[in-house]
Assembly symmetry: C2
Homo-oligomer: 346 residues x 2
């Protein structure tokens, strides 16, 4: 009589639906499996009864027998980072449309992987795993997870991993940094920048290493001096402090190339609000990522874009391909970058 009384009202089971609809339990199973052969009218009747009883197939039971959990694990160091939250949001939406749910696991900010986390995650038997932390060695992941699980390491560098595992067991999404960086350097040079500082990201970040390397390479090609390299960690506060140090302790620079947009924001604010310098008149600033905040008027940041839609489409394509053909050869998708010109250069 009381609300608390029907708490025991467990979820309806396929047996109950079968009994109610005067069919076998197998028929119920088939009714929820589109490509199973079942008389249309029978299917309709079953689905009708199922709706009345508020029945949904139990994923755990289904997973047990089919071996597919319809779960995609995501390993994320920082959900708050605009870059990662964008990706989580878009991937979740796309995968949800294909019938997969997102299983979120958080790793420590310093990227140190807790082995128990991987063990724990493996218990859920995810159909696929996306690792956002670029410095988790794929081999480590492969060791803890099953070899049959496709693994995606986002934005690693071809060269870094070329010799890591002889036969790479995971699909990869690579980003060509060269294009956007070359455009940015050309623009900076055009505005007369000579002393360029590179405001780095996390030391362990492969993307950071690749950006620094590409920047050096590009500057050399154009006959410009090597950049002043500042240590960073992708955060606003660290970038802010590093910029202060550059101008107070060091000799300054006439352009700052930040490893990510948030770092660029920190640099801009330090220049404008603490050092009393003008951006772009005194110092030019370029970022990396083109997160939504980059177009906010206070920053209006010129930045190297890696298109979100392209990224997500490529990732989803990879994942679905792998889920449908687990034995296919590992695939590599390549993305390009390009400069988005706004107001922080000239």
């Amino acid at each position: 009589m009381n609300d608390r009384a029907d708490k025991k009202a467990a979820r309806a089971t396929a047996d109950q639906v079968a009994r109610e609809a005067n069919v076998s339990r197998v028929a119920v199973s088939r009714a929820f499996n589109p490509n199973a052969s079942l008389k249309p009218e029978k299917r309709d009747r079953i689905l009708q009864v199922a709706r009345e009883l508020n029945y949904t197939p139990d994923m755990a039971a289904r997973s047990l027998v089919t071996g597919r959990s319809h779960l995609v694990g995501m390993i994320v160091p920082d959900v708050c980072s605009p870059w990662e939250s964008q990706e989580i949001d878009a991937l979740t939406t796309a995968l949800q449309a294909e019938g997969f749910a997102t299983l979120l696991f958080k790793v420590k900010a310093d990227f140190s992987m807790d082995p128990r986390l991987l063990t724990y995650m493996r218990g859920f038997n995810p159909d696929s795993v996306i690792a956002f932390t670029e410095n988790i060695l794929p081999d480590v992941l492969c060791g803890f997870l099953d070899r049959a699980v496709p693994i995606y390491v986002i934005y690693d560098d071809v060269k870094q991993f070329a010799g890591a595992a002889s036969g790479t067991l995971y699909d990869r999404l690579l980003v060509r940094q060269k294009n956007g960086i070359a455009q940015a350097v050309a623009l900076l040079q055009g505005y007369g920048a000579r002393r360029i500082a590179y405001l780095g990201g996390k030391a362990q970040s492969l993307a950071n290493a690749e950006r620094e390397r590409t920047l050096k390479e590009t500057l050399a090609e154009r006959g410009m001096d090597a950049p002043i390299v500042l240590a960073g960690d992708y955060t606003y506060d660290t970038a802010y402090q590093a910029t202060l140090d550059l101008f107070r302790i060091g000799d300054g620079a006439d352009a700052i190339f930040a490893a990510n947009d948030v770092g660029a924001f920190g640099a801009i604010d330090a220049l404008r609000h603490e050092l009393g310098l003008s951006v772009p008149d005194d110092v030019k600033v370029v970022g990396f990522d083109d997160i939504p905040q980059a177009h906010w008027k206070s920053y209006n940041l010129t930045t190297v874009r890696i298109d979100l839609d392209e990224r997500v489409r490529a990732l989803v394509r990879l994942i679905l391909m792998r889920l449908r053909a687990p034995d296919a050869e590992p695939l590599t998708e390549t993305l390009n970058t390009r400069l988005i010109v706004r107001g922080t250069v000239g």
Copy 2:
């Protein structure tokens, strides 16, 4: 011989571990269940073998028999919103430490709930559900999910839901808006603000409605004029445009109270970079939330804080309480707000 060959190397099962360790399969199960009675040396040996075989209990199978999935569902409209991503991040960390994994579901930005999503989510049998979209009526959720599943609706308003369901079946986290708003209004009045505009959030948002109501109430108590109410949706762009309209089409204001920090950013940028006005000299701005970006120097926003740590601690406390005692009476935790004074008022 080839990597591809051992793809079939399925995950180790409890049976294999049992055989290898010369024990019964039940013993293996007990070895992984801390409070089961098992001779210590035997347990150690089993765990040792399990480690060698890289064995992990299958969550699906475990879920099937225990009825607990160790999954916590989160229904989120926008992972990119700093407010929500903070919460997801902190909750995931806290729940992970307690052995629960986060299952992420995304709903449309306009909060319209797709009933099929709820049905789908129910299939995963989450032990608990956290709904970030405050305007999902709890009754709708209760209808689709089982009554036995504890449901948390974050930041709803006591008054709104008082009469919704006679016996509320869900635990709640309430936020007292009054404190922070009263402090903000006092500060604004002290600096001589007279014409105050309220830059609203999503129309369907209960938190927005409650903030607007509380602001009006507070202004009236202090004998000030009712606020000019601007429609918004919590986004930067909308806030930016609404502010332009207020000053170009409307009669302007000498203070803007935004429903959230991101909206305040939009207002500040419109004032400074398009209308040529000074913040705080010409117009004062107050935000709501105190997201990390609020202390960025470009904005340096005075805002009403709802402490993240307090929020997460309270939520985790509620969830764990409910998981351990499903039959306990529905609980309500209450949080307070307070003003963080920075540079956008005076």
